[in-house]
């Protein structure tokens, strides 16, 4: 499938951040998470942080590496809808 004309519009760096920038950010956040995991912070606070941080990381990968930022919105909805559904299901299924 010849994609050459359209694909040339996408520069190697995606957005202001660039792929490398996103990578560094992800690495930093991961390091932060591992550090938090070994420090004796209150469990519930820690958990909230982890959830937020991992959501952030997942969002960065999806937005920049999977190009959801620049592609059709439909792809993003296709990813987010089951994620939300799954969250609801997991919460309900977690009830003893």
């Amino acid at each position: 499938m010849s994609q050459a004309p359209q694909e040339m519009e996408h520069p190697a760096s995606s957005g202001r951040l660039g792929y490398g920038g996103v990578f560094l950010l992800l690495a930093l956040v991961t390091a932060l998470e591992i550090w938090l995991g070994s420090v004796g912070v209150l469990r519930s606070v820690r958990t909230a942080f982890f959830l937020v941080l991992s959501l952030f990381k997942a969002g960065m990968v999806a937005a920049y590496y999977m190009h959801l930022r620049t592609d059709s919105r439909l792809y993003a909805y296709i990813l987010i809808a089951p994620a939300v559904l799954l969250l609801v299901f997991a919460i309900i299924a977690a009830v003893p």
Partner: protein, 196 residues
């Protein structure tokens, strides 16, 4: 009354919406994978919350944290491979695909090492509910990495043959979507299993 249009442009409706049909198909597949892992994650979470187990203390956050870095880096190399393919840089494409495969293999090796040491300590898929859900969840993730690894190698072979030349990068992009997804699943798994 119907008028007629040339028959060759079958995917015109998709293009006009800014959609590529292969990408759309892959995203729909990934949606189903979200739900598949969701079922496994729900089972894991149910037991983690309701049947807390001492065995969770056996998990090696540092080792697996390192493994997480490895997988994250492989996502970087995949997107660089795509950029190379789009720019017509076949050397860059080959290099990054190779790196991706190596990193993927390293991740699997790391997982294998973790599994082996856990089993040596007495935590197995059949030792407890925690063991069952841990090994199943991470095991299926590992299987997905393995499939991705084989796909990366196949793409590497195709790249060496010039199969992605002249900007024909769709195959790399589709592979990338799958690989990044597997990375995202790991981000969730690492958090849910090791951190929380």
């Amino acid at each position: 009354m119907t008028t007629s249009v040339e028959h060759s442009d079958e995917f015109r409706a998709g293009r006009e919406l800014g959609l590529n049909h292969v990408k759309l198909g892959m995203w729909l597949f990934l949606a189903s994978e979200v739900m598949f892992f969701g079922g496994l994650i729900s089972a894991f979470l149910h037991y983690k919350l309701n049947n807390p187990s001492l065995e969770s203390g056996l998990l090696d956050v540092l080792l697996v944290g390192g493994n997480t870095f490895v997988l994250l880096t492989s996502s970087y190399t995949v997107v660089m491979a795509l950029a190379a393919a789009r720019a017509g840089n076949s050397a860059g494409l080959v290099r990054n695909l190779l790196l991706t495969a190596v990193l993927g293999a390293a991740f699997l090796a790391g997982q294998g090492y973790e599994f082996a040491s856990l089993i040596r300590e007495g935590m197995t898929p059949t030792s407890s509910v925690f063991g069952s859900s841990f090994f199943t969840l991470t095991g299926f993730h590992g299987l997905h990495v393995l499939v991705g690894l084989l796909w990366a190698l196949r793409n590497l072979a195709k790249a060496l043959r010039g199969g992605f030349d002249q900007g024909r990068s769709l195959g790399v992009e589709i592979f990338g979507l799958y690989w990044h997804f597997v990375d995202i699943v790991w981000i969730v798994l690492f958090t849910v299993i090791y951190l929380i």
